[in-house]
Symmetry: C2
Subunit: 164 residues, 2 copies
């Protein structure tokens, strides 16, 4: 077993889906709730820790989009870009939690301002890399800071953890 | 930031749900697919690593069931037992994956036989602890080794990682 010598700058959880729907704007007195939706593809939950910088983003995006995590119709493992599938990015600060007794604490999470900036840069980079790689793949994303009201339908979520 | 001095024996990912449905037996020529379902509560995805033993289970189960991860109707954070909610246990060996380049490898995962034994002991312990704590909470679980065909509906998955 390998030892981890330092804490990660970002934590992601990846789940495969047949369809995923995420609220991007809650209902208010003037309008109904708004949602984004993808069909077959991958949901990426993401959380940044204190100390994370823009420098980690290119490697992170390239790695996440090119990992062979998706099962093609012929049973071969391919990347979400190769599938081709869609990508749903879900900001998920809770992933940075650490328990102290029965309570969860989020002391290592990045500040809200820096997190928002990195999240937007991460989304842009994903969109750019995907557009360059395949016209058939789309990227959708949740609203940073919102409650991530999510509905997920899978043929096996095939959940993975990737830290950077 | 804290350093991790050793690899974990078990990795879990926790998601809150309004409803979750999991296939426990795929369809075959003789019968339709079978599913288990919970309403409001928590989904626990679980993976054991090489070296995991029964010794970690009591602390693990107690910790997972008593963490204050669930939002009560009054907005207070309570445990799934206190909610009271239901629990869906999903064996998820993919959580043990580590990438080598673009491919995922699972070299640190426990053997299938030991994993099956620990998973069954984990399920039993969860059922026992839940029964002792609340008559209103039920535990459902997936079939070890199966494809975990899952459908999830959330009011925010509030995803957490817990390692033991």
């Amino acid at each position: 077993m390998t030892e981890r010598s330092s804490s990660p700058a970002a934590r992601t959880v990846l789940q495969q889906c047949l369809q995923a729907r995420l609220q991007v704007k809650p209902a208010d007195e003037h309008s109904e709730a708004q949602f984004v939706q993808i069909d077959r593809g991958m949901v990426i939950y993401i959380c940044f820790f204190k100390g994370a910088t823009d420098e980690i983003l290119p490697k992170m995006v390239s790695s996440l989009l090119n990992l062979r995590l998706c099962e093609s119709d012929s049973g071969r493992m391919v990347s979400v870009v190769e599938l081709p599938g869609s990508v749903l990015l879900v900001p998920q600060a809770t992933l940075g939690g650490k328990n102290k007794g029965r309570a969860m604490q989020y002391h290592n999470n990045i500040s809200k301002e820096d997190g928002l900036r990195l999240y937007h840069a991460f989304v842009s980079l994903c969109e750019k890399e995907v557009t360059a790689a395949s016209a058939e793949v789309t990227v959708k994303h949740g609203t940073y800071g919102n409650r991530q009201v999510l509905k997920l339908d899978t043929n096996g979520p095939y959940t993975h953890l990737m830290e950077f």
